[in-house]
Symmetry: D2
Subunit: 361 residues, 4 copies
Amino acid sequence: MGNTFGQLFRITTWGESHGGGVGVVVDGCPPNIALDESDIQPELNRRRPGQSRIVTPRNEKDQVQILSGTFEGKTLGSPILMWVQNQDARPEAYSEMATKFRPSHADYTYIAKYGIRNWKGGGRSSARETIGRVAAGAIAKKILREQFQVEIVAYVLQVKDLVASVNVEKVTQKHVERNIVRCPDPDIANQMIELIDNTRKAGDSVGGVVGCVARGVPAGWGSPVFDRLEADLAKAMISLPASKGFDIGSGFNGIHLTGQEHNDPIRSRRGKVRTTSNRSGGVQGGISNGEALYFRVAFKPTATIMHPQKTVDADFKNTTLKGRGRHDPCVLPRAVPMVEAMTALVLIDHAMRHLAQCGGH
Amino acid sequence: MGNTFGQLFRITTWGESHGGGVGVVVDGCPPNIALDESDIQPELNRRRPGQSRIVTPRNEKDQVQILSGTFEGKTLGSPILMWVQNQDARPEAYSEMATKFRPSHADYTYIAKYGIRNWKGGGRSSARETIGRVAAGAIAKKILREQFQVEIVAYVLQVKDLVASVNVEKVTQKHVERNIVRCPDPDIANQMIELIDNTRKAGDSVGGVVGCVARGVPAGWGSPVFDRLEADLAKAMISLPASKGFDIGSGFNGIHLTGQEHNDPIRSRRGKVRTTSNRSGGVQGGISNGEALYFRVAFKPTATIMHPQKTVDADFKNTTLKGRGRHDPCVLPRAVPMVEAMTALVLIDHAMRHLAQCGGH
Amino acid sequence: MGNTFGQLFRITTWGESHGGGVGVVVDGCPPNIALDESDIQPELNRRRPGQSRIVTPRNEKDQVQILSGTFEGKTLGSPILMWVQNQDARPEAYSEMATKFRPSHADYTYIAKYGIRNWKGGGRSSARETIGRVAAGAIAKKILREQFQVEIVAYVLQVKDLVASVNVEKVTQKHVERNIVRCPDPDIANQMIELIDNTRKAGDSVGGVVGCVARGVPAGWGSPVFDRLEADLAKAMISLPASKGFDIGSGFNGIHLTGQEHNDPIRSRRGKVRTTSNRSGGVQGGISNGEALYFRVAFKPTATIMHPQKTVDADFKNTTLKGRGRHDPCVLPRAVPMVEAMTALVLIDHAMRHLAQCGGH
Amino acid sequence: MGNTFGQLFRITTWGESHGGGVGVVVDGCPPNIALDESDIQPELNRRRPGQSRIVTPRNEKDQVQILSGTFEGKTLGSPILMWVQNQDARPEAYSEMATKFRPSHADYTYIAKYGIRNWKGGGRSSARETIGRVAAGAIAKKILREQFQVEIVAYVLQVKDLVASVNVEKVTQKHVERNIVRCPDPDIANQMIELIDNTRKAGDSVGGVVGCVARGVPAGWGSPVFDRLEADLAKAMISLPASKGFDIGSGFNGIHLTGQEHNDPIRSRRGKVRTTSNRSGGVQGGISNGEALYFRVAFKPTATIMHPQKTVDADFKNTTLKGRGRHDPCVLPRAVPMVEAMTALVLIDHAMRHLAQCGGH
């Protein structure tokens, strides 16, 4: 259960990291949108393992194929099936996983829940599952950009103790893509790359924070109670593998201010209602207010490391698991397109819901 | 839209802060649970305004009434309607709100979305909406406690810069209820109360962090992809009024560790799979692992303050809004039962989903 | 479970026939619709018991009250709570029901499912539950009429072996309301009334068919696969108490034709695509084609009769249940507003879904 | 939208009749069920075109492939992706369809809704879409049979004016599969085959009724209000291509009886509550009562015929469409496995919902 996201622009992802392939069905996409694989592949390339020396080296091309929902290069309004075949078999790399639970992975919890797991990899908990999300998000991003002039930019904001300085009003994807760590602050970016490189060599891993901003979101998207825009974003982000925290606007840092310091004054500017600060992060009472929507997502250091770790085997006997083969020293550069995809999926869904209830005005 | 939470234990809240009343329909509650108003009222009393000098003084008894779904003191399995009549009218207190948007409230975003709002209070964005949540959560808590031996305890962890020390393995509701700020660390609690008191006198407000732990959750609740236990908790918490951040386990602080430092070693203890640390916060891959489930929720300082603020009026002309009447210096003590309620609602839903798919084993 | 209907215009009904009251929450209603109790009450009056000598005599006024979701006579876009207090207690009338299962009622199946039932009446299976549907449907009908020029007319088409002749292109509510049986064919109507009257005196009951037409539905509402317009109508109708069958267009009678005889020829008329016959009933492939949408609903004879019947008691021992008090000789006249309400709820939901995905064009 | 069916055992079908392929994602399937392609293929073979001379001759093998959700021959509890590649291209057969709307097909309504259609075949309205349903239904049937001892048998009950005699308590799949029309009444079956054969030669088509029974359904599945077992069955059946009517138990024929004649007397038999007649069709108040669940589905004569028909072209100009190539003289034999599949999907979903709310007792 729980493999569907969204209410109107609805995606269902499927596939284990090892098996026939991984993919997604997108239901509810508007018709007559120009769409083919070339709209999707660039985003998958940003998500792909092996794209640089600081990410996991699994060597797959992740070539996407659209099997349904388009005709002569346009969407039909019917479900869009996109998938990527699995190639990287290497069963020997996983033989030890067949009988031992990897610490801070989902190996044990899968057994506790289902009584069975595909031990050739992480099954559904693999980051490979996010291929479907990124593919679906590429469609959502395109519609948001072309029909609503909404621009979404995610970036690496922090790696361990290294914190970048990013201006959410101005950062663009171009700034982000200038370096392999996807941090728009060039000086810090270099330090981040060096840190990850050294961590990788030490067989260890680091975590950090991905920031994201959506600009151009009109006032009025969202909902006042459970389906607040920020609540749906929170769910979207915390559903990403290895994420452990989310905050929006001033977030955990806003605590240090008083209400008087924190409130965003409102001013009229060229007939529009604007705020002169943006500690709200673009949402008030669950509904966008027309300011830049920005938030942070905390990712833990990835669990696969190259050091021996205490664990138990399938018979619940104590044992040790030795790391070997390859590992992902830092999930953050690849998390950037995932965060953008999930943001786009939340926004397109709320755009459609707003249209349905309020006629879009 | 968006006034329903949960898939199997499903609640729909209704009502504005001013109008006939506020309430909730609970659909999917198991039958044959002993239930009457006395199970609900104590939780509403913990949420009630006017319960102490450090919370908003709105004077309402919030007396709950059950209109359906029970028979001779037991649940029928049919929808349970619970509601509280509104009493506190005071239209004069809101007259200025009729024509001016309060900064960092939802006044403007409601107009942007719906083109109309109930300006006598905050409408659906009022904390009064959470009455329905707390009432429904009281049922969920009861079932979790009696049928699953799950204990949920929330507490004030931080007010502005004052941080309490709380042991998630041991804290109980008794510790929490010893003082009016609901902080189980007595020394810090006194400082918090003093801080809030002074803030109130200054016509200002403060924010902070509510922590929460659920103990006794068996391994296996949750789902690996979108409906991760922590993702549903994140949505639940960020859907609470004034919340701006969520993290679970090591959360935003886990960033400073490497993977080797962060991973939770696994050991077998009395035939059970346990971890010797709990930076995961009780979930791995979206599924509970049997350890204590704990997380934090950041709340901004409440937006209503007693100082003049820059804003615009209904005609989008610049103006000033003077604070007057009463205000809520700190939402945290009253947020404690709200956080517990939402936690219970997420857990009961996943308990039922687990039962449905995996037969409960 | 299962007390919610609709995806975007979503209603949740609550309440047992005996208890505090019955009602509904409507979530997703567009804002700024003029609405007060006077829009709802006339439809409830058409549904009310005791409205004529040929329906069940339970004597209740069913006075509706709106508790939330409106402000100064307009909808807010927030949940609308409407309810009716229960008045008719008469526990003595139900004393025998406490220990015996009424044949062809839900008494036994409730016990089989829930292990408990509110034996003072039929609980949720009572026709009283439809108060919430009719109240919500009144809002949907109003929006459809005012914003989409859609007119919905239901009528009694058949009582036992008496079949009326009705022209779906021309029948209006005025024709329907001319007599107490709500059959627009005056001659047959008189015979129907006489038949029901005699049946009532004999302590027995009769069933029949309600027909319904929606005119003005634009081409393009609906969906091609599971959520076909006719599939959602089928579910809506078969969810009404005592209904046992549904067909649309030529329905069960279309079987006797060949494809050549059955197909609806298409012609262009004043720039519009029209069909010269309408055996499709206004839908093709799950989507409306702009022709009149019409269908039939079969209702069984009501189960409460004034004759002794074989049954078992709560201990599963064989016994006899004697009919006494009052009974409903024919559900059809009161089913007419229920059928209209459910039709309106299906149509408004699909109108909103169409707007969301296809922008309404 | 609307390509998902079910709440807990949830299927999403995808694919057009012409394009990459057609398939389904099944989410919510219980883990540890033995499953491979050999469990699915036989049902697809029963659905396949070209299986006999009385069905549409489209020549495809419809070989199913499982891409995810199983491991070493068992279900993982994760989404199961099943698909069939499209092979039958024949663009020349559809060239006329590119510019003309086929009467009583969805060609025009698709354009009215989406402004675009895949004119190489019927797109999503093609019976080919049901491949995904039948594949998913095969899993549901297997679980129902093995874990709940529920047996589902559908059969052709009527072709045009030829009505078979079928005993719902005794009919088995073996009886049904004895002839190519899938009618368990051998004499009538021969007449049906002859009728369809002659109709095919005349370039015309016939409709009829498929009956279905589910035996072994325990008392207690279903829900009292909107999600009645029979309401969900109605939606499931009316969502099948070419279906126009549904009734359960006595259905449209029950109208001719009075309540006294229609009610099912209750008797205790070996400690179980049973009814001595079954006009209710196995459900009372939306919940199964332990008796055989049986219902009928009316299918119109298929719309594709080999005769010239009046229609309009893409420019809304009057024209004539000549039938050519191949056509389906009768959908009924192939509808049998579709009806069984949809029945199984409704039942497994309600079995899981019952387990979730009532613990399965």
